[in-house]
């Protein structure tokens, strides 16, 4: 458990929306199975007094926190209001904020992350599936029936590709300690570096699978930052070259950020890189 355990109370914003109302019962069903707190309150401005899956909905995060013991928030608010929701939860004092919402304008994300940093909140996402510590807690939308409890950490920029890898691990009898989707946007709260640092401190994690994509250099930065044994998989070998971001992108990010150069860089650091998801279990066994 690197971000929270079953005792963690969860707040959901955008609770009465389609996605919020769909995923609150799934998070609660999981909490019920593992003996956790689950979602204890929801927030949708103007909907105070309503209930979703038996959970009370409040107008604001502060109202919810006055009535409930809550340590983490999960945001399903649509893109126009999601950055505001991050700031509201940070201001209310929530230590952990998971932002599921995609398509948030990047300048809104920049502001929200800066605000959250000032308030001392940790933000995962946006545009992410959240995290799952099998047998402990589900914060977000990772399909829990694909996962199994064990000692391999998973950290990924992707959503569904993460599920694919978790599915392969579980089928191969390799359980997971915590699965974290850090999000696919150019600007995200927790990066590979941050999550790997948590895994390094985690007595329940022996080895980590890092799943990357084309673009940027976050994978290389993560790999350099940790002593943990890593297995990597990078999607996008066949992707058309990403449109380069002017000279500035090349100056700041060095290489082209395409999948092949990422794979070469990681292999040069001695990290085994799978050429397809189904190779990951064998590469992990090689490290254990």
């Amino acid at each position: 458990m690197i971000y929270g355990d079953r005792s963690c109370g969860i707040l959901v914003t955008g609770a009465t929306g389609k996605q919020g109302a769909f995923h609150i019962p799934l998070m609660n069903a999981y909490a019920h199975r593992v003996g956790g707190q689950g979602v204890t309150a929801g927030v949708t401005p103007g909907k105070q007094g309503q209930k979703v899956d038996g959970i009370p909905v409040y107008d604001s995060a502060k109202d919810a926190l006055r009535a409930h013991d809550i340590q983490a928030g999960v945001i399903f608010v649509p893109s126009g209001g999601a950055a505001d929701s991050v700031m509201e939860l940070a201001d209310a004092g929530l230590p952990l904020i998971i932002t599921i919402t995609e398509h948030i304008p990047v300048h809104d994300t920049l502001n929200a992350l800066a605000y959250a940093r000032i308030r001392g909140s940790t933000v995962i996402g946006p545009n992410c599936p959240g995290l799952l510590s099998p047998g402990e807690i589900k914060l977000g939308i990772i399909p829990d029936h694909l996962a199994s409890r064990g000692r391999v950490g998973v950290v990924s920029r992707s959503g569904t590709l993460t599920y694919e890898v978790v599915h392969e691990l579980t089928r191969a009898g390799i359980g997971q300690s915590t699965i974290v989707g850090i999000g696919g946007d150019p600007v995200i709260g927790q990066t590979f570096v941050d999550v790997l640092a948590r895994f390094e401190e985690d007595p329940l994690t022996d080895v980590v699978v890092m799943i990357g994509e084309v673009g940027g250099s976050l994978e290389e930065e993560g790999a350099i930052s940790t002593e943990l044994p890593l297995v990597a998989y990078i999607a996008g070998i066949t992707a058309p070259p990403e449109k380069r971001m002017g000279h500035a992108g090349a100056i700041v990010e060095g290489g082209s950020g395409d999948a092949r150069s990422k794979i070469e860089n990681l292999r040069a650091m001695g990290i085994p890189v799978a050429s397809r998801p189904s190779e990951i279990p064998d590469l992990i066994r090689g490290l254990l």
């Binding site: 996605q19 799934l26 893109s79 995609e102 304008p105 990047v106 300048h107 920049l110 502001n111 992350l113 800066a114 605000y115 000032i118 939308i141 990772i142 399909p143 029936h145 694909l146 990924s156 920029r157 992707s158 959503g159 569904t160 590709l161 993460t162 599920y163 694919e164 599915h167 392969e168 089928r171 696919g184 150019p186 600007v187 995200i188 709260g189 799943i211 994509e213 084309v214 940027g216 250099s217 976050l218 930065e221 999607a235 070998i237 066949t238 992707a239 058309p240 449109k243 380069r244 971001m245 002017g246 000279h247 500035a248 992108g249 090349a250 100056i251 700041v252 990010e253 397809r276 998801p277």
Partner: protein
């Protein structure tokens, strides 16, 4: 979305950043409008690609030869792009070139300003050979302007008159939702300092609130894909691919290649794909004449497998469909598909294998 040079320069001008006097033409009959610019002119093809100068997209000449030069440039195809618009500008006499840009820095999660005392086309070589020659300053995101100390550090060795231009470019960057605002070169001329070339890339997620609609040349299928919010790219092969999430869809394409197959397209239906969207996606891909088999590889997070299954069936296309579903409401999705005799696989590996075999 990358703006064309003249669109970027219009925005810079709005913010008080000097740009060379110029006019955009779409045909040489509009050259009369360029009277009064200068006797010495620059003709710059307006293209989405970079490096157009080296590729023959910029010509210089006298006003009396303008018609011939414009005709020459309009007849060119530059790296696959036809020249449809030319920015005709006064030719600058440049004494000194600087490099200036503001970008979103992924690593620090903050705006980053870059400045170099020697700009121009070789800026990347300079960055490699003398990284210290590129001055870099991160600006905490909640600041609306560049603090004086940061400005002094950024512009060390450069004329003070550049400082207000940096401030204005930073405003452009923040207020116009750009992920990159680049002036290269920022040119010292006898008439003053001007943005000789400019590049603005607008955050795609902010296009609606910036009031920008993309009117690119789209094929009917690409237009359809855009209408439903699919990420869609057409490729050369015969295996139609539908996935959810860019990562999984990319990984599916990669695995097809590893197994010796060729994908006909990339289609990411996005999160929360419902029955209607899946049906549209299947019909869209099936509409490509090259597609012999369609591979639907979906893992449910926000997406519900039962919705997907109903969408696949509703599409009713002639090609065979290989499906792989896992995730939320998986059993229900599988039950529905089996009931209609569709091939269903438990793993991506098996599904891709089946699709590649079937396409042979």
């Amino acid at each position: 979305m990358k703006l064309l040079e003249y669109e970027a320069k219009n925005i810079l001008r709005e913010y008080g950043i000097p740009v060379p006097p110029g006019i955009v033409i779409t045909g040489k009959d509009q050259l009369e409008n360029t009277e009064g610019l200068s006797d010495e002119l620059a003709f710059k093809a307006q293209l989405e690609i970079g490096g157009r100068g080296k590729a023959g997209g910029i010509l210089f000449g006298k006003r009396r030869d303008a018609s011939r030069i414009a005709q020459d440039l309009f007849s060119r195809t530059i790296r696959g792009f036809r020249v449809e618009r030319i920015l005709v500008e006064k030719r600058l006499s440049i004494e000194q070139e600087y490099y200036l840009s503001v970008m979103v820095d992924r690593s620090s999660r903050e705006p980053l300003i870059l400045f170099a005392l020697s700009g121009g086309v070789d800026i990347e070589t300079l960055a490699q050979e003398q990284p210290e020659a590129i001055h870099k300053i991160h600006i905490p995101s909640l600041l609306t302007e560049v603090p004086p100390f940061a400005m002094r550090g950024l512009l060390r060795g450069a004329p003070k008159e550049i400082a207000p231009l940096v401030q204005k470019l930073y405003r452009v960057f923040r207020e116009r939702d750009t992920i990159l605002a680049e002036i290269n070169p920022l040119a010292v001329t006898p008439e003053g300092i001007v943005a000789a070339d400019a590049k603005l890339i607008i955050d795609d997620n902010a296009l609606p609130r910036q009031g920008i609609t993309q009117d690119r040349d789209l094929t009917p299928r690409e237009r359809e894909a855009e209408k439903y919010g699919f990420s869609y790219v057409e490729l050369e092969g015969s295996i139609g691919v539908i996935g959810n999430g860019a990562g999984l869809t990319m990984a599916t394409l990669d695995l097809i290649a590893v197994k010796g197959g060729k994908a006909a397209n990339f289609l990411d239906v996005g999160g929360g794909a419902d029955q209607e969207r899946v049906m549209r996606a299947v019909r869209l891909v099936a509409g490509m004449p090259s597609v012999r088999v369609i591979l639907v590889n979906l893992l449910g997070g926000i997406t519900r497998c039962d919705d997907v299954a109903r969408g696949v069936i509703e599409a009713g296309v002639p090609q065979s469909i290989v499906t792989r579903l896992a995730g939320t409401n998986e059993e229900e999705g599988k039950r529905i598909l089996k009931g209609h005799g569709y091939e269903m696989y438990d793993t991506m590996e098996e599904a891709v294998h089946a699709a590649v075999e079937e396409a042979r």
